[in-house]
Symmetry: C2
Subunit: 524 residues, 2 copies
């Protein structure tokens, strides 16, 4: 019994998360794009860039380093591939406008000349949505990074799309506010990209999705029109809420150039507890009770299974067994509130109850910022630990909470039935581990498999079986990562033909020539 | 000094709001539609209903009372006019299907035969959006009222579009949950209509808009296709979020037949305080401090001016002056949380501070449910009191919080300058009162004027001047009531031509023949 009673937790500036991009991915089974997607043939109707196009861009974008070309291949390279080095294009021009008028001039020209364009924010995506597939030009928002306005009465922040999430959060922190979203990539990702990909992340349970917090945006359409989609108001019932289409559109409709977003007050107290639970039913019961008793201060409810903990202990220095007995499931609960005495009392009463009632096997409450960071560190180093096991197959799925873990179990059964996986925990099959972890509070499962290396037969044993399981449970094949290049072919597992037809009609309205981020998002 | 220290507030089932539709509007300046909108000519391309159409509908809708025709004029009437009796149509057929297959059959037939259709929920709207303008048929959702499923783990409720909001809330209350929206019309309005009009209401400050809480919906398109727009998942990044277009589309794109919505846990404690403030700057400072100190438990921040209170005292029996001294502004603060001791403490500390620092002139904290109801009663009877003054001109506006009250003052100046209003409070002009009240926390101003009766010159002194003021302050001409028939002609004060063009393109995608709720929503 390691649970100690609640005590005051000092104010935390940060939640002790893994630093940005610190995870080594070198051991992952990275499959070159050409191998995975052999059928993506360049659309011959797109114009190939010529010297006169470059001349136009240099004239349209005034700042000295506004246009990068193949004359500087080293500068070009980071825009041509994603940070995991999984997707790689071969664009010969990167444009970095500094205002929406420049974006407009560029898009108008590209539309008239049928030049394909990939909008790029921080390029931190996981599905290959922000890098070219062939020779599309990249329009980077990184030089559009002005914070335009913050109103501390309403909490509305208006800024350029290229503002880095962490910069915005730091800006708000000084005034006692917080960005309503938080991601591991916060030091690099940009708010425009966050909005374009409908980023979820760590604060969604508490502050809701960007569909609720983004109040308005400025966009540049494919034909160069600059359009205000709404106003920075909390209520505005005048016409279709067109900005919503751009949230999660992954650059296929136009370019988001500025965003107004509602920032909540920054919580003054943060508490973290880790609990061990004997069944997934128990994890659900605990979640239900946490929502009831912690309610307005509950800010994270993360879970991971025993195998995840085992791998973290094995690979991450300094991480020990948290409890005296093994349990199959671990839960990390975070509270954030405006009064730490009250939060401590609520959490303490909650923990007393769940221990007394036997809802949890064991538990620990972080006593200081180091322990808070330590508990988050276990959760946040799961990905890194898995990577150190060899090849990884990674799936970001959304599943109704009651069915969340059964997806993992069905995957284990399936692989055992074809002799690829040993369910006795001996890791004797070619698939060594099949684990589940994720943002339980959001119904977001990260299902990961480790193996000795990538092979076609393992992939065939997983897909489309896994997508079928997700579909059967009424889930989604992409909870928060989006479609991009990687998941576009599988969209029909989540959306009907009628829905996809409507998507294509939307595309025709906003980008009739199809120049915006081609080859992605839509199934071929 | 009437402020008393915090004490325990018993659990409240209701917030003491005015009962549904109890407000007498008989004294309002009700202008017949034909007078206000003389230029709405019937679209001759729409088919007039014949006996064979009725025969088709009777066959398509199985339930006995599924089709109401002009054979029963008394039954038809309530569907042909709004509850304020301001808008009136002359449809000769009301259809009440019981499932989406029936809705589909009806719309397919109407689309093929070019029969115009008005979808109707509880018919509680304020802008004439849910009644026919001419002879469009009414498709009422009132017989589609099944609660399909509630999952107490995730809090996701799935139900037919015709479920009454209060019925849903009562259903959830038994399981410790609450609907994330609340309206005065909760006893009549239906969730499908709430979603179709993007209803705001009293809980928006706390639980956010329907764009964040509606997870998915089933719709029937104009051509009869039944399409699932998303899944009841908290995260789903697979394609454009098309359901968002239907939130606030006011029946112009298709018919919402079911909704999945995220329900929060029901708060266990509710506190209410009323405060007197000496300036609108002070009201804003108080709001800022309330957001900081009450943060996660703040559930309402309503304001009204001195004239509103004066009228309520005059017209509503039993309502007395709340404080010893007059103040120009009154604020009603509500908190809702999971632990009443904590909430009491937070609110008490907040009130001590704002009284000590002189942020408020005076204040009172409700000591029991009767006092809670009494305080809400003052706020909620403003509309009724205004109506008793004679003719009312009512505007529902969204304005950035810092500019909220200056809109009222500019309107007063304007009317004084043309001799219609006396600013000395003597009510000697033809416009007797120009008052402001509303959901300050949402930047939602209800600007109301009273006069001896409706006259064209008063209206011309108000409009378009008021819309120009709102436009200049970056506001919206409709915060929560929508466009409907009434505000459609003024859309350009809130949206650009490019935006309206895009709206028309959306309409063309979903309803190319224009049968869905014609004559409304779009400026002619």
């Amino acid at each position: 019994m390691l649970l100690r009673s609640a005590c005051r937790i000092p104010k935390l500036g940060r939640f002790g998360l893994t630093p940005n991009r610190s995870i080594s991915l070198s051991t992952q089974a990275v499959i070159p794009t050409a191998t995975r997607y052999p059928h993506i043939i360049r659309d011959a109707s797109f114009k190939e860039i010529e010297e006169k196009d470059i001349a136009f861009f240099r004239n349209a974008i005034k700042s000295p380093a506004g246009v990068i070309t193949s004359e500087a291949p080293d500068e070009l390279e980071p825009f041509n591939q994603d940070w995991m080095r999984r997707f790689k294009g071969r664009c010969s021009a990167v444009l970095r406008p500094t205002n929406s008028a420049e974006v407009s001039a560029v898009l108008k020209y590209c539309n008239e000349n049928r030049i394909a364009v990939v909008p790029q924010g921080g390029n931190t995506g996981l599905v290959g949505g922000s890098v070219p597939v062939h020779d599309e030009i990249v329009l980077s928002l990184q030089n559009m990074n002005k914070i335009r306005e913050f109103d501390p009465i309403s909490g509305v922040l208006t800024c350029d799309a290229g503002c880095v999430l962490e910069v915005l959060d730091n800006h708000l922190e000084k005034q006692g506010f917080i960005m309503p979203l938080d991601l591991g990539a916060k030091g690099s990702c940009q708010i425009g990209g966050n909005v374009a990909t409908n980023a979820g992340g760590l604060r969604l349970l508490r502050y809701g999705s960007l569909h609720g917090t983004v109040l308005s945006m400025e966009v540049v359409l494919a034909d160069g029109r600059i359009v205000e989609l709404g106003k920075p108001l909390r209520k505005d019932n005048t016409g279709f809420d067109l900005k919503q289409l751009f949230i999660g559109s992954e650059g296929t409709l136009g370019i988001i150039t500025s965003v107004s977003i509602l920032a909540p007050r920054r919580p003054k107290a943060v508490n973290v507890a880790m609990l061990g639970v004997s069944s997934f039913e128990g994890v659900q019961e605990l979640f239900k009770y946490a929502k009831s008793e912690l309610n307005e201060i509950l800010s994270a409810y993360e879970f991971f299974d025993r195998t995840c903990l085992k791998l973290v202990k094995h690979h991450i220095p300094g991480i020990r067994e948290p409890f005296e007995t093994d349990v199959p499931f671990y839960v990390l609960i975070e509270t954030s509130g405006s009064n730490k005495d009250h939060d401590d009392e609520k959490l303490s009463a909650f923990l007393d109850h769940v221990m007394t009632e036997g809802l949890v096997e064991d538990g620990a409450l972080a006593q200081d910022t180091t322990q808070v960071a330590g508990m988050w560190n276990i959760r946040e180093t799961i990905t890194e630990s898995l990577a150190k096991e060899g090849g990884n197959y990674k799936y970001d799925l959304s599943v109704p909470v009651p069915k969340l873990y059964s997806v993992v179990e069905e995957m284990q059964e399936r692989l055992a039935s074809v002799g690829l996986f040993a369910k006795d925990g001996s890791a004797s099959g070619r698939v060594k581990h099949v684990v589940g972890f994720g943002h339980m509070g959001d119904g977001n499962l990260h299902l990961n498999l480790t193996s000795t290396g990538w092979s076609k037969d393992i992939e065939k044993a997983i897909e489309p079986f896994l997508y079928e399981v997700v579909q059967r449970h009424g889930g989604s094949i992409s909870a928060e990562h989006g479609l991009g290049l990687m998941k576009a072919p599988y969209l029909r597992y989540s959306k009907s033909d009628d829905f996809i037809d409507l998507m294509k009609s939307m595309k025709m309205v906003f980008d009739p020539k199809g120049i915006m981020n081609p080859y992605k998002y839509f199934p071929s």
